[in-house]
């Protein structure tokens, strides 16, 4: 009798047989090896702060989007072939429309749980971008982008760009009046680029707007290309987080070489699984109770139709505002034209994202500090950075308000031209004022940090 079998028999006889968990560990070790590494990783330390949940919200939104997106893909037709609608939504009975729009109506009105899933998908996308932006702000204001996390800052920013862009693609797919109008504007913006604009627009859209193949072209980008890129970057983002460990706020016993927090198993794993389900529950409640993007009210896209108070998804609002607020300075150069929309729609996003991408290096150059850090800074510890950040987000917020200027003018009974001019002044004047005020307040607080 082998030693192993002897132990097993003895274990049975005395009631100390291995538990299922121990048997699972044995199976893992035999088939994969690396038990001691796994044992260590179960004790992976996660510093605790409510602020560290923001990135998780984004991650969990992505999971909800993939699950709901797969369901939607089963019913959506990426075709602009013209059909005459005879579905359950009677106000549109007999109206000619694209197969794509018709399939979204069927999905919303005839597929059981279809409307719920569609609305959860849309809400998850909106919350996703919001979570990414707040997560980015947390990173910025607490100095989490410093060495050794500069590369992960770049990955995170790239994620924000890809996610925002995929939101725009999703908004365009149903081929309702709003999505078609959005595509029309995207075409015009592309056309405005010097030299290559008209060719680029034609290559992207497959001809002059409106083209009949654009939905079929956007579809694989929205459901495969960009999600695959997002999943890959998320993997890299989390992989680096795992290897480098999470940062921590200052506190007793904590320094750049020592971390304090909850073990992954069981506390952190239980908590974060719970938070994931809570977030999924909240998004489902939104989808159940709060109507979002009721495409049947907008009607199918026709190039001769337009609707008032049309709004893009909220995270495109700053761009919409910039496009509305920038004056009509079309420039004729020789035999060429530089349309005004080029500046707010192409140059401005570049001006906003380039310094964001360079920020960890700009910060390094300004502070002459290339230390390897793991402990975060409280925002007021760096008044200069706090002022820059506050001014930057004030600028974006004024643009965002500008994106809804017609709605605000309607709701509050203001004159639209006056509101527009006010916003044009505010977008220049307000950021420096907010930055200066922030600096003054943070400066007083920062003296307290120096004392302690």
């Amino acid at each position: 009798m082998s030693e192993h079998r002897l132990k097993k028999s003895l274990g049975r006889a005395f009631g100390v047989a291995p538990s299922p968990a121990r048997r699972a560990a044995r199976w893992l070790d035999r088939n994969l090896g690396g038990s001691s590494i796994l044992r260590e990783e179960l004790r992976h330390i996660f510093p605790d702060s409510w602020a560290f949940f923001l990135g998780e919200i984004a991650l969990y939104c992505f999971i909800v989007l993939v699950v709901t997106g797969i369901f939607l893909a089963l019913f959506f037709h990426a075709s602009q072939a013209v059909v005459v609608y005879h579905g359950s939504y009677h106000p549109l009975a007999g109206v000619p429309m694209s197969d794509a729009y018709s399939s979204v109506l069927d999905l919303s009105w005839n597929v059981r749980a279809g409307l719920l899933v569609r609305q959860v998908h849309h809400w998850a996308a909106l919350v996703f971008v919001a979570a990414l932006i707040i997560h980015l702000m947390r990173m910025f204001f607490t100095g989490a982008y410093r060495r050794p996390r500069r590369i992960n800052w770049l990955i995170g920013l790239s994620l924000l760009l890809l996610v925002g862009f995929n939101g725009l693609m999703g908004y365009s797919l149903p081929d309702d009046l709003l999505s078609g109008t959005g595509l029309r504007i995207a075409f015009s913006i592309t056309e405005s680029i010097p030299f290559i604009g008209p060719t680029m627009a034609s290559v992207l859209f497959g001809g002059d707007f409106p083209t009949t193949g654009i939905i079929a072209r956007i579809y694989p980008v929205h459901i495969f290309l960009l999600p695959a890129a997002i999943a890959g970057l998320l993997g890299a983002h989390l992989g680096l987080l795992w290897l480098q460990r999470h940062t921590e706020f200052p506190g007793p016993g904590r320094d750049d070489r020592t971390m304090v927090g909850s073990p992954m198993v069981p506390q952190y794993a239980l908590r974060t699984t719970g938070y994931f389900l809570l977030l999924a529950g909240v998004l489902t409640a939104f989808g159940a109770l709060l109507q979002i993007n009721p495409v049947w009210l907008y009607g199918p896209f026709r190039a001769t139709d337009a609707t008032t108070s049309a709004q893009p998804d909220w995270h495109m609002g700053w761009l919409e505002g910039a496009v509305r607020m920038f004056p009509g300075w079309d420039i004729q150069i020789g035999g060429f034209l530089l349309p005004a929309i080029f500046w707010p729609a192409v140059i401005l996003p570049g001006l906003i994202f380039t310094p964001l991408f360079l920020w960890p290096w700009l910060d390094w150059m300004a502070m002459r500090d290339n230390q390897f850090v793991n402990v975060l800074q409280y925002p007021t510890m760096r008044p200069g950075r706090m002022a820059i950040g506050a001014g930057f987000f004030t600028f974006l917020t004024v643009l965002l308000v500008g994106g809804g200027d017609d709605v605000f003018a309607n709701v509050f009974g203001w004159s639209l031209p006056v509101l527009l001019r006010t916003l044009q002044i505010l977008v220049i004047v307000l950021p420096p004022i907010v930055a200066a005020l922030t600096y003054a307040i943070a400066r007083r607080r920062s003296e307290r940090w120096l004392v302690s």
Binding site: V16, L116, D208, D305
Partner: protein, 315 residues
């Protein structure tokens, strides 16, 4: 039986922070007895799981019953929130607030490894660059290969030739409404407007026009060179906004302006549809009109400038 016994044996104080799940269920994360100083109630987790039970059953029933989105989603949300609440509470309160300390990994301190890696890469580079001519050829051929792949973009869309400069309007094109009804000199009363297309091209987005009957309004300014373009007080402008291409769909009767619903560009109908507010920089192109022998409105020609949003080689 074996399972129950096994669990007791496997309770590893290091793994569960000195308070195994069972201890916590008894409410004793710090080893205190029931309702002792450290006692934590389990009922919130129980309530959460009961909500999940109700929500799950409700979801299935409302799905089978084809109930409204609100019921279906409400039950599903309750099911998710219930179990989420239970697990979050479990992890936060019942599992014990174990706090552990450990070192951060310290990268970039492997000086030896770094030097070895540098040497290895250096050698690799030398192996390649030693062949000067081949290296240059490699860079050149590789670059040409990459550039040659750009032609694939040609499969995606045609090079724009005249499509951005021309519309479906031709000399003598007759005006019709979206439904194909001909527009005659009697169609509009002074001060009213409609949307028109060239006959046979009511699907042509480029060609949509706003046709307005000014009548004999003294405020209307006829621009130089356009004296014959507005017969009998009819005037037509492209309906595609010169800013971002939306249909300029709103007509404000009092101010005699057209407003684009997308970005509120405003065009003065009394003065060549020049932009007077909002972000547009150029006027809406005017279509030269005529009235034929049968009293039908026609175009004298296509637009004389490109319609719609600006593009680079338009100027």
């Amino acid at each position: 039986m074996e399972v129950a016994k096994g669990r007791t044996v496997s309770a590893d104080p290091r793994l569960t922070g000195g308070a195994s799940g069972r201890d916590a269920e008894r409410g004793a994360p710090g080893g205190h007895g029931p309702r002792g100083p450290g006692w934590i109630p389990t009922w919130p987790a129980t309530v959460g799981l009961v909500i999940t039970l109700i929500g799950s059953v409700g979801f299935a029933v409302s799905f089978i019953d084809d109930a409204s989105t609100q019921w279906l989603g409400g039950f599903l949300a309750a099911a998710l929130l219930g179990i989420g609440l239970a697990l979050a509470y479990w992890g936060r309160d019942l599992a014990g607030d174990e706090v552990i300390t450990g070192p951060y990994p310290v990268p970039h301190e492997d000086a030896e490894g770094r030097a070895a890696l540098g040497d290895a890469l250096d050698q690799t580079v030398q192996v390649i660059t030693r062949r000067h001519f081949l290296t240059k050829m490699l860079v050149f051929a590789g670059g040409v290969f990459v550039l040659s792949q750009v032609v694939l973009l040609g499969a995606l869309g045609p090079r724009p030739k005249n499509s951005l400069r021309t519309t479906s309007w031709r000399a003598g094109s007759r005006l019709v409404t979206f439904d194909g009804v001909p527009v005659t000199r009697d169609t509009l009363a002074a001060g009213t407007f409609l949307v028109a297309f060239p006959e046979g091209h009511t699907d042509s987005a480029d060609s949509q026009i706003t046709l307005l009957r000014i009548g004999a309004d003294p405020q209307f300014k006829t621009l130089a060179g356009r004296e014959t373009w507005s017969p009998e007080g009819y005037v037509a402008y492209s309906r595609v906004c010169t800013h971002a291409g939306c249909p300029v769909a709103q007509y404000e009767d009092q101010a005699k302006v057209l407003v684009c619903p997308c970005h509120q560009s405003t065009f003065d109908l009394m003065n060549g549809a020049q932009p007077v507010a909002g972000p547009a920089g150029r006027a809406l192109p005017q279509l030269p009109l005529a009235i034929d022998a049968q009293g039908r409105l026609t175009a004298q020609s296509d637009f004389t400038v490109p319609i719609g949003p600006g593009f680079w080689d338009e100027g």
